[in-house]
């Protein structure tokens, strides 16, 4: 095993959490503090983002985007790359709802404080609503249909600069318009002297604060730059560890590490299970051009669902439709006339829904759909169908029997769309908002960390990603992750200053 130099602070992961912490700690480098960021994924060059579906999914996502829950009924999407999942999301940027932060009941976590910190990153990442001329028909029809159907339709602020409307956000922006940590926070941190090493997976955090790290070689014919370090195993010594490898990555890392971790480690996993619904219009619409996700309807508090505009690629679309055969093919061949809506169920932490590791230390996610989560999907599907029909859609493809809803069905959606059509294993449920596993709370009896991301009983170990959420956030999480990571960085700076007297 090679031995690398020692560092003062090591950040594991470079997404919304790790990238933020790296930037916020970077000024310490001037005082001689050595900071290292270890990222499991590669560093991609601009020309690597081709927008080709399977090629980019393989390059960016864990298991090519096909990471399954233990019982195989849901796909979890998360990226491994310089910038983490901020490379592949659509840039939608909302601040945490007050009612959610109150319901979390984390002592020392104040909604006002979190909002102020989130606003800082919204400004830094150029978050703003897109101008009207850039809105495509797919989004416009959602607004029109939503309002006609009586829903409050809101516009997403998005973190783009110079968006050309490729519609390929989820495959990594080919025009470098999306302002993820790969474009903003990490380059700033590196300019200040923070070292970033890619293709570096942390296998374990040891009790003596050292890390066992494996740097992998770039395989022939694959995308991305080689690692900054030579391939091999390293033993990295440090004084402070910040785990920001995402809800699954961080929880799995701590679970396979020989640490006296709190009992609730890995528990409280939530993920906003999502369904993609499509509807066919009588005429072509602009859908695969323009930013895909500009509007939403938030019924999280009342009916446990959020609807968002979306637009996916041929394979993902095909997989998301229920059934097969001529009906399925007919919908696929109507692609230029398709409108799409993403339904997110606002699930809540439930016993048994947790992250674990198998014998080799790889993450295993146990997840069962509660009746409440299924109800959120059913209600969301009915609402989406109302919006589609109000927007003029001829027919809607949904989990129903038969799966095509005609305009005449619009008045009897309660009969046509019911929970019996939402049996796990019969429909393509996926999730990209992966939360929990290292929840914040009062003590080791009820949580893994305190409100500043300090692991109970291990003050040198911090967590700074969505695993901190003690329950579902009920909105897109990235600004909240950045706000929490900002607090983690502040806590480290304060502790560092205190130890220096």
């Amino acid at each position: 095993m090679s031995t690398s130099p020692s560092y003062d602070i090591v950040v594991i992961g470079s997404g919304a959490g790790g990238g933020t912490v790296a930037q916020e700690l970077a000024p310490l480098v001037r005082d001689g503090v050595r900071i290292l960021v270890l990222e499991k994924g590669p560093r991609f060059a601009d020309q690597d983002f081709t927008g080709r579906e399977l090629e980019m999914a393989d390059a960016l996502y864990q298991d090519g985007g096909a990471f399954l829950t233990r019982d195989g009924t849901m796909t979890l999407a998360f990226a491994s790359a310089y910038g983490g999942s901020t490379v592949v999301y659509t840039g939608t940027s909302l601040t945490a709802p007050q009612r959610v932060i109150r319901a979390w009941g984390v002592p020392g976590l104040d909604h006002g404080d979190l909002t102020r910190r989130s606003a800082k990153y919204a400004e830094q990442n150029n978050v703003h609503p897109l101008d009207d001329p850039l809105i495509n028909d797919n989004n416009r029809l959602f607004v029109e249909g939503g309002r006609k159907a009586g829903y409050l339709v809101e516009q997403f602020p998005v973190n783009v600069k110079g968006c050309r409307g490729s519609s390929l956000c989820n495959l990594g922006c080919p025009n470098q318009a999306k302002q993820g940590t790969n474009r903003v926070q990490l380059p700033r941190a590196e300019r200040s002297g923070v070292e970033v090493v890619t293709r570096a997976e942390v296998l374990r955090v040891e009790r003596d604060r050292s890390l066992t790290v494996r740097v992998t070689e770039k395989a022939a014919g694959t995308k991305g730059a080689p690692s900054e370090w030579a391939p091999g195993d390293y033993h990295v010594r440090t004084r402070i560890v910040v785990a920001a490898a995402g809800a699954i990555g961080t929880s799995a890392l701590l679970l396979r590490s020989p640490l006296p971790a709190p009992r609730s480690l890995g528990h409280g996993f939530t993920c906003h299970p999502a369904l993609i619904l499509v509807a066919e219009h009588p005429h072509p619409i602009t859908n695969d051009v323009g930013h895909p996700k500009s509007y939403f309807v938030d019924h999280a508090a009342s009916e446990r669902f959020v609807l968002e505009t979306c637009m996916y690629f041929p394979f993902v679309t095909a997989k998301s439709l229920t059934g097969f055969g001529p009906t399925h093919s007919a919908i696929m061949h109507a692609f230029p006339r398709l409108q799409m809506i993403l339904i997110l169920a606002c699930d809540h932490a439930a016993p048994g829904n947790r992250i674990a590791v198998n014998r080799t230390g790889s993450p295993v996610v146990h997840y069962r759909f509660t009746p409440q989560t299924i109800d959120g999907l059913v209600r969301g599907t009915r609402a989406a169908a109302r919006i589609f029909f109000a927007a003029g859609a001829r027919r809607v493809h949904a989990p129903a029997d038969p799966p095509l809803l005609q305009a005449a069905d619009a008045d009897r959606l309660e009969e046509r769309v019911t929970a019996r059509h939402f049996r796990p294993g019969m429909l393509a449920v996926s999730a990209a908002h992966l939360m929990g596993g290292c929840g914040m709370g009062r003590s080791a009896a009820d949580s893994v960390t305190d409100a500043w991301g300090r692991v109970h009983g291990l003050p040198w170990l911090r967590v700074a990603d969505a695993s901190l959420f003690p329950d579902s956030l009920e909105i897109n999480p990235y600004l909240t992750i950045m706000g929490l990571a900002d607090r983690v960085a502040e806590g480290i700076r304060q502790d560092w200053a205190a130890t220096r007297g």
Binding site: R52, P314, H328
Partner: protein
């Protein structure tokens, strides 16, 4: 059982009827995509997949006295529909996995994307003017 087996083709042409019109080179492309995806999974998953394809091939014998690859298209579709609605999660999940691989193989080909009218372009709005 290999992935280019008659059973996979039988399921593929049922899941995506247009697949029956693919020429040999296009079939090779589809199968290469499926093979790549399967190779990336664990050995346990690969074994489960092979086992499930065997099950799909022989299970119709009980009801129709014929293997899946020898069934007419109508009966084949009926059988697969039963699988996707099966009371056993194991069967529903297995069918969902095979269906997903076939859809990946078919719609993951640039020619299929073009055929359905998918036109996304990195140049975005500029490419449509």
């Amino acid at each position: 059982m290999t992935l280019s087996s008659p059973v996979l083709r039988a399921v593929a042409t049922c899941v995506v009827p247009e697949a029956a019109r693919l020429d040999p080179a296009q079939w090779d492309e589809l199968e290469a995509i499926v093979a790549r995806a399967v190779a990336a999974r664990s050995r346990a998953v690969q074994r489960q997949l092979a086992l499930f394809l065997t099950l799909l091939e022989w299970l119709p014998l009980l009801r129709y006295a014929r293997r899946l690859s020898r069934l007419d298209p109508v009966r084949r579709a009926k059988f697969l529909d039963r699988m996707q609605r099966a009371p056993l999660l194991l069967l529903r999940r297995g069918f969902w996995g095979v269906r997903t691989l076939i859809l990946m193989g078919y719609y993951g080909r640039p020619a299929a994307a073009a055929d359905i009218g998918y036109r996304a372009d990195a140049r975005g709005w500029e490419a449509r003017r």
